[in-house]
């Protein structure tokens, strides 16, 4: 790796950390559980790394490791996004008046 590329990578790293801090400190504690599952789903982006490892087909070992990695990250992406949405759907400002049928 060239030193310039390394420097650019570091830029990205530091800026992302800074941006993450700014964005996430604005999330209210009300939504901390969905936040966790959302960031989990998003960090399932390691899927792109796993895909290359699995698909580059260099050796059997690396393909199997890649396969396992793809399974893990896909599970996270799929279940993470579904669960986040399920949770966020439940947060309502005001509820419809309770049904009277129970009475």
């Amino acid at each position: 790796m060239q030193p310039e590329i390394l420097l650019a990578t570091f830029y990205v790293l530091i800026l992302a950390a800074f941006l993450g801090y700014q964005v996430i400190s604005r999330v209210p504690s009300l939504l901390h559980t969905p936040l966790m599952s959302a960031t989990n789903a998003i960090s399932g982006i390691s899927l792109v790394g796993s895909l290359v490892t699995a698909g580059a087909h260099q050796t059997m070992v690396s393909s199997i490791l890649g396969l396992c990695a793809v399974i893990c990250s896909t599970t996270n992406v799929v279940s993470g996004f579904i669960l986040t949405d399920r949770m966020l759907k439940m947060f309502k400002r005001r509820v419809a008046p309770p049904s009277k049928e129970e009475k």
């Binding site: 790293l13 992302a16 950390a17 801090y21 996430i24 400190s25 604005r26 999330v27 504690s29 009300l30 939504l31 901390h32 559980t33 969905p34 966790m36 599952s37 959302a38 960031t39 989990n40 789903a41 998003i42 960090s43 982006i45 390691s46 899927l47 792109v48 790394g49 796993s50 895909l51 290359v52 490892t53 698909g55 580059a56 260099q58 050796t59 690396s62 393909s63 890649g66 396969l67 396992c68 990695a69 793809v70 399974i71 893990c72 896909t74 599970t75 996270n76 992406v77 799929v78 279940s79 993470g80 996004f81 579904i82 669960l83 966020l88 439940m90 947060f91 309502k92 400002r93 005001r94």
Partner: protein
Amino acid sequence: MEPRTLFTELSYIVASVLFILGLRGLSHPESARRGMHLAEIGMLLAIIGTLVNREIVSYEWILAGLVIGCAIGLPMGLMVPMTAMPQRTALSHAFGALAASLVGISEYYLHGAALGPIKMPALSFEVLLGSLTTTGSLIACAKLQGVLPGAPLTYKGQNVFNLSLLGITVICFVLLLIFPGHAEVFYLMLFLSFVFGVLLVLPIGAADMPVVIALLNSYAGLAAAATGMVIGNNVLIIAGMLDGGSGFILSIVMCKAMNRSITNVLFGAFGSVSETAAAGTGEMHETNIEDVAILLAYARQAVFVPGYGMATAQAQHVLRQLADALEARGVTVKYAIHPVAGRMPGHMNVLLAEANVPYSQLQELDIINPEFPATDVAVVIGANDVVNPDARDNPKSIIAGMPILEVDRAKTVVVLKRGQGKGFSGLVNPLFFKPNCEMLYGDAKESLTNLVQAVHGA
């Protein structure tokens, strides 16, 4: 630049922007869902962008992985009950960290010493953090699920042993930087990291899990970011840092809410402490359903304080029914949410939202505390430490300084509790002995169900 590579890079840039916008949406419940849809589109774009990558020569393994991953992920996403969110979150940290770790192992296996002096530290870091997070999260998950006992597992010299193990792991890390070609050092470090993850979480009690989960979240994110550095992929670095940063912020929030430091949580083995600085004295007053129902029915304001006990009893829906019945009688109902109530950040909010409680009724610590003196009845449902007045009044208490919900300032406090036993932390709660506190023993769900009927009859 080849058009394919250009497409891949562009998809990554767009994905990064969409991820950030998605998380920004989470700053308000109204915009949150739309934000997450943006993030989903970003994810899809990044995956498509990767699949056209020229390094990929065969798609069988990929397809198999995607299919199996969906086969596990779909039912998990659709069927996991909200009460199981803490353990499922811990499990997903394990998956995420394992993926990062596996990619790292594969990279080392393929390139070894050829990785060079810049990639090697990132790779070692990734594998070390990824592996310890994998096993650590699995243990956390097992504790939350009840497969392992929730109480801290401690033995003499534990901290010394764990720290020396960590020390050896770090020595391996340093050795690898100097002699990157020594595969045996790499695999030893890998093995030690797995073991260390187990040992790190075993001594931590279930009540401290909110901090641990947040911390493991942070580690999983950092491992992903390190993967990005190794394979030179910016979107991975960005997403990983967002995840890592979020976990880090959450652990700080949780630690502040308990007035403890992260080191104290990790090495303090809280909950094994049996000392009682100022044991409560006097008698507890037991009450019954009818009296509580009358108290609630004729109150002007009632505040519910849910804790982990509400989650285990799955009592959130019937609590909502009780609140409905009270509101129909003109009682103002609010819910007081402590940041560490439950087993993960925001746990109570999600459960109550599931029961259709509007989020405007969920009040945080500093908003609700000034309201307690004007509250007629505060009902504590399966919470203990977060309402322990010792934290405020007794500087010698081990939870001294922890911000609490000051329910003892309400005119009457009703505590729904399973039995007379101590809470999880083993601390005596002086609240229970105060003259304005009444105890209602029994399963929370059952008691609440009976209360709903009694209130209707009142």
